[in-house]
Symmetry: C2
Subunit: 331 residues, 2 copies
């Protein structure tokens, strides 16, 4: 129905329809719908990705310092590169700010982008500054592609589902920040850091892709169930996830409620979610030491479509909410 | 003074201070401060640029259709590639829209980007959609670099200053759109088209760079005097421009006032401004047929800094306003 708003259509349904209508060009190896595009240029493969952070949608100004906004804007892109096993090289930064925004804050924001890029061996090579009613930072990141390309599309029934690190910390931080009252306890530093300074799994991504053991990969930015849904949708499969096996940090276990499901659907973890054919599981055990982080099997790919999360007794769970939808959440 | 706003510091002074603080990385051949960055990746040179259009700053929604917004957002980037003599290959599109924005309009916007990219042999390979209070479209464009790099930095005293096409039409369109009243005459189509559907000088840019005849080049996006100022600033020179020689279209001459100076400082023309050493002028006359557009000598580079515009009698003119400053203009 053409006159509906984007909110009514839903972000992901709408995006899927947009993506389907983009023609493939001569330079396109992997087009829209994955963590990065793969572009052929002068006989070489490059990764190219873009991600934006908007004030009031992705963050509030008192949750993140200008430097952290800059830093995080870069890191969310680096996470997309990690999910394709690439090596970030250069980025361009497009910023929109109100005319009243302080020059010092914008310098700090830029310093955050520069520092985050430098920390992973990439450079800021250009930018654009516009006036806008609302602060936004949109970064496009170029990366060297690995010789072998892994996308969201290769998962097959029977593959095991793995996730790096721990899930739920960033979403817990956002909830605690939202619930904060003048005299409430400070948000625990370990949880807050995961929201403010995510550490993209670049090394793990490169090792996993280079190993040839993973059939599909995606980064967990919108929540486990939602991003696994994207991976399964692109692979035309489904998955069963055992909730009890989803890795949670000590801080998360201490501060989240007992029945909490943030680790299942909370966004902004920037971990990697990948699928591994059964025949490769043993070799993955051997490769895991090189990842620089833990990796945990949390379920299995199924031929039946849809994501089913089961509790410790094997019963399907009903999740309160899906992942993050820009046009529905946080008004 | 650190606590001043960006508006108080001034867009370009602030940008200069930002650019000065970006460290050069291993992949950077040409960094921030030019029309495109030049990035070394896997032994090849690539151009990368980013530009954004923000509603209420760069356009009003009743001045441009969604398709035209998408189209123009691509073309302003293509113009930066033209100024470096490159060939656009792939772009990623970051869009921010209000939740109430119509899905059909966003589809049309995307179709505009796709069509504009396709028309110059490039592809849309990825994107990002965010909620925002104000519509914005930020596009990052990747291009193949020419073997020889021309930046804003090579102009020398004595070089002649040339500009492609005609200047002032787009700014005249904006003025006529702003002055439009319910019963006023429609804005002339020839002028309006220059604002709505700029034609980046990709062919001219490639021919000029490949010819080896130009010492510096920039695209005219913020107005002749301002962009020539950027080129001269980077080259540490000045320029004298003869106002009477600045090329104006028939439509502009018909519809602009007699004393009008929009051709000198009005923005959004997306023509190319370049400098040519005297010894190459004769060869430029021979090469001009391949450009696909006219090219006009409008002045000369001087050792003395600053831009001086002289009238037909050789007297310096006082210009009412400079070019476009996002943080000062159109409140």
């Amino acid at each position: 129905v053409p006159s509906r708003s984007i909110a009514e259509v839903g972000e992901f349904a709408f995006l899927a329809s947009l993506v389907a209508r983009v023609p493939r060009g001569r330079a396109t190896i992997v087009g829209p719908g994955h963590d990065c595009a793969v572009v052929r240029s002068a006989g070489r493969s490059l990764l190219l990705t873009v991600d934006a952070m908007v004030e009031g949608v992705h963050f509030d100004r008192d949750w993140l310092s200008p430097r952290q906004i800059g830093c995080k804007s870069f890191l969310v892109n680096a996470s997309d590169v990690a999910a394709m096993g690439g090596r970030p090289t250069a980025c361009v930064v497009s910023v929109g700010v109100p005319a009243t925004y302080r020059a010092r804050d914008l310098s700090d924001l830029q310093a955050g982008v520069v520092a985050a890029a430098r920390a992973v061996g990439a450079s800021v090579v250009g930018g654009n500054l516009s006036r806008a009613r609302q602060l936004f930072v949109s970064i496009a990141l170029l990366a060297d592609a690995p010789p072998r390309i892994v996308t969201r599309r290769g998962a097959r029934p029977g593959d095991f589902v793995y996730v790096t690190g721990t899930l739920g910390d960033a979403a817990l931080a956002v909830r605690l920040l939202q619930q904060r009252r003048p005299r409430s306890r400070p948000v625990p530093a370990a949880v807050l850091r995961r929201f403010r300074e995510p550490a993209p799994r670049l090394r793990a991504g490169r090792v996993l892709v280079a190993s040839g053991l993973v059939s599909a990969m995606i980064d967990v930015s919108d929540g486990l169930v939602q991003d696994l849904g994207h991976l399964c949708g692109q692979s035309r499969v489904g998955a069963v996830i055992r909730a009890a096996t989803v890795p949670r940090s000590r801080a998360y276990c201490l501060h989240a409620g007992a029945g909490d499901t943030l680790a299942l659907h909370g966004g902004e973890d920037y971990e990697l979610l990948c699928t591994v054919p059964k025949r490769h599981v043993k070799r993955l055990q051997q490769a895991r030491r090189g990842l620089g982080c833990r990796i945990t099997c949390i379920g299995e790919i199924t031929a039946e479509r849809g994501i089913c999360v089961v509790d410790a007794s094997g019963q399907p769970m009903r999740l309160a909410a899906g992942g993050f939808d820009h046009f529905r959440d946080r008004d």
